[in-house]
């Protein structure tokens, strides 16, 4: 089938694509074609504008002012909560590790040097213990950082769950 024919046939699907009534397979074909065809992309946008104009022209149905206010308050609260918990905890932990990475490397090397120094004849138990302690402390610091990240993640999940529960309560209250 020639490219021109494919192009013409796909153009016939564009109104359906704008109305979101195509089957998955049809939509995928249109999407792939539009991605590489500026003409069809422009045409699809034109159809989307037309579809949106139907929505904009529909008679308005006023919202209950109290409900509208409540919804706005919930949205803003979610937006604020989203901002405070938006940074994934793993990233927070990672950024903390990155910030302290220089000191961690230094401490690790010191520990290794101490252990290395201790095993030279004669065996210096003091250096060995000091080196092992430094390495142990370093491990504890990393472990604490990871655990802190997990706690933050759980806190974020609890915040989200709290919001969901509030929404569920609202829905069930409204339907009763």
């Amino acid at each position: 089938m020639s490219e021109t024919r494919v192009h013409a046939e796909l153009q016939e699907l564009l109104p359906g694509a704008a109305l979101e009534i195509l089957h998955e397979g049809e939509w995928e074909i249109v999407r792939d074609h539009v991605a590489g065809c500026p003409e069809c992309d422009k045409l699809l946008n034109g159809y989307r504008e037309a579809a949106a104009a139907i929505a904009l022209g529909a008679p308005r149905v006023r919202m209950d002012p109290q409900r509208a206010q409540g919804m706005r308050a919930r949205l803003l609260s979610r937006a604020q909560a989203g901002k405070t918990v938006s940074l994934p905890s793993s990233r927070k932990a990672f950024s903390m590790i990155t910030r302290w990475s220089g000191w961690m490397v230094a401490a690790g090397l010191t520990g290794i040097l101490m252990v290395h120094h201790s095993v030279h004849r004669p065996l210096a138990v003091g250096w060995l213990v000091a080196g092992l302690l430094v390495v142990l402390l370093l491990g504890l610091a990393v472990y604490a950082g990871v655990q802190k990240g997990r706690v933050t993640a759980l806190e974020a999940q609890l915040t989200k769950l709290g919001l969901s529960e509030a929404q569920d309560d609202r829905s069930s209250h409204r339907r009763t």
Binding site: E12, P15, G16, A18, L19, E20, I21, L22, H23, N45, G46, Y47, R48, E49, A50, A51, A52, A53, I54, A55, L56, G57, A58, P59, R60, V61, R62, M63, D64, R67, A68, M71, R72, R74, L75, L76, R78, A79, Q80, G82, K83, S171, R174, R175
Partner: protein, 190 residues
């Protein structure tokens, strides 16, 4: 211009400005609610769609491309998608049916009457609904109504109307072409 204002709000939202979300909500929530209501015919579900739409807008404002569409188009497409998702899900769960919404019924109901405690306002006289849709041939308008307000696929419309699939596709395409051309003329004229 209004669209410039909306675009500026979306830019601010993308930067995390909650005040912009609040302003956008004040400007557009009623429109979003209206289209959701006309698709779902359920005020409570329409409210849910409003919340979902603005939440999605907040989360994805950074992806809005001003070169591709007006901010209002972006928002309305999102609102209609959310409403259709709910409608299709409802349809899957039950053999749900209600009086199909027709554009003429929509215009009739556009009279300022009290409707289940909700007040309707007449749409802008210059809107496409008021000017172009009534001029579409009845078969094209009916096919468009089923696609737009019920989210039916070409095949489903063909089945419901007992028309060949190709005929349904042509009707919808012609109706959309006329709307697009009319919209182009409105924009050129304004």
């Amino acid at each position: 211009m209004d669209d410039d204002n909306d675009r500026a709000l979306l830019r601010r939202m993308a930067a995390g400005d909650e005040a912009a979300l609040s302003t956008l909500y004040d400007l557009w929530s009623e429109r979003v609610h209206s289209i959701a209501y006309w698709i779902l015919k359920d005020p409570d579900e329409a409210d849910d769609v409003v919340e979902e739409t603005f939440w999605q807008a907040w989360r994805t404002a950074g992806r809005y491309d001003r070169e591709r569409s007006a901010a209002s188009t972006w928002l309305m497409v999102m609102a209609r998608s959310r409403a259709l998702d709910r409608l299709r899900s409802r349809r899957r769960r039950t053999d749900w049916s209600s009086a199909p919404l027709t554009l003429s019924r929509l215009r009739d109901e556009a009279e300022p009457v009290d409707h289940s405690g909700r007040q309707l306002e007449l749409a802008d006289e210059k809107s496409l609904l008021a000017s172009v849709l009534p001029s579409l041939p009845a078969d094209q308008r009916a096919a468009l109504e089923m696609a737009y307000f019920e989210g039916l696929t070409h095949g489903e419309i063909a089945q419901r109307t007992s028309q060949p699939l190709g005929t349904v596709k042509t009707r919808i395409r012609l109706a959309m072409q006329k709307l697009r051309q009319a919209l182009g003329q409105v924009e050129e004229g304004s």
